[in-house]
Subunit: 144 residues, 4 copies
């Protein structure tokens, strides 16, 4: 019951894409990973940018890596860039330490996955991620 | 007009999942990549197997890598295993040379992407991939 | 309640080491990974073999990768070596496809992690892994 | 006599975890590596953060990499960030250059391994690492 299902993950993706459309954002990519960091659902709107998927996935992975939304990584990267060099290394380069990676939590605070969004500004990407998580009935944690 | 849209890619994913359900297969993962090898849409049904996404993506990538459905890679791997070792190397290990990676072609024969499916037997995975491509109005090429 | 705790993981490690001692095996290493493939507990008995930890972890990771104990990977590797080349690639070389990687399941069949053991023969390694899992009150699935 | 035994390594892990509990820290992970940089013992307390093991191991590895506790790497990283980029590269990305990686020395000053701790603040992580080493009767060197 506490695992992220495909139905949940697809609801999050669709609601995040809808939010982007509502706000008139640039085409975005939305990745949903389970708590173990594995891809569960993904969609990328039509636009030419060949690493868009990797960036979206990397934001979600970064949030899970340290158990905090990527606002924390983004801030830490500015304060202690060498930590991010290290973290990038031990993760085999899988982390995008930028705003837009949001933890998916249950009401009770359990982390069941993360969403990563990429395509518009980082702040707008994050708005879409949060909207997707909340539309699916979960609690969004973008970090601080 | 000849590029794979997100709408197309999601149609393929959903029809492939539906085919798996219709046949009573094990939970599957379905990945759709565009002609450049970048992830466009993805869904993974609920089951514990942490590399399922990588395997599905790797089959689609393998098909695009050589411009043929992965039946060709699967056969070639048996006849010339050293070629697959080399191909795995130059692709940074991104290829799964196994049945279940199917090219998405237009009526005119243009390759616009590939589908990779993983979760049941390779042959059943392929059936789902072909069903998804055809349901979306494209031509499926599983290789030979 | 259904996640693998550190207490569980340490029980498994200790019981597996005890089994090795009881059987008079060579020094072994025992790794316990959670369902997401992350290391939870580990111990390596005293012996000079610098990749022992990587091998033990790689067996457990291999079992989780495909959702089956590594007897399945070991057999598949003999029948379809190219699949293993591919799997090794997409996992960034993290898989040891050899007997001795055993899934940890609950009574209800849910996979909550895996144990990998290395140091003696593969079959003896597996005996220790199974003993560890059962001593901690879980169901061991070595694959088939 | 001067090699790190499993009994020693497990004593260090357990005493470090106990220190974390005594201080009321967040869940931590504790890794003990031998002088050759290979994992000897490891435990990760229950918390969702999927790279916790890699970070703890990376701190210990970093200490061994340069023969100094990671206070030295942390300081050097601030003064000469390019050195850390290089070090991360030649180590295949295995180093976390952050406080919390502590060398394990004998009374005579011989390095027999290192401890890496991750989970709370870097300074608190280091306190646990030092406590673990001293409880096991060794000399802790956190670098300077």
């Amino acid at each position: 019951m506490s695992d992220l299902t495909l139905v949940d993950a697809q609801s999050i993706v669709n609601a995040a894409l809808a939010k982007g459309g509502e706000l008139g954002l640039k085409p975005i990519a939305v990745a949903v990973l389970d708590a173990g960091g594995q891809l569960k659902a993904f969609a990328r709107q039509d636009a030419p940018a060949i690493l868009r998927a990797d960036i979206a996935i990397g934001k979600a992975y970064g949030a899970l890596a340290v158990g905090q939304g990527t606002r924390w990584l983004n801030r830490t990267a500015l304060e202690r860039p060498h930590f991010l060099v290290g973290l990038s290394g031990v993760s085999d380069g899988k982390i995008i330490p930028v705003i837009g990676g949001v933890l998916i939590k249950t009401e009770s605070g359990r982390v069941i996955g993360a969403v990563g969004v990429s395509g518009d500004t980082s702040e707008n990407d994050e708005v879409c991620g949060i909207a997707g998580i909340e539309a699916a009935g979960f609690v969004a944690d973008p970090g601080a």
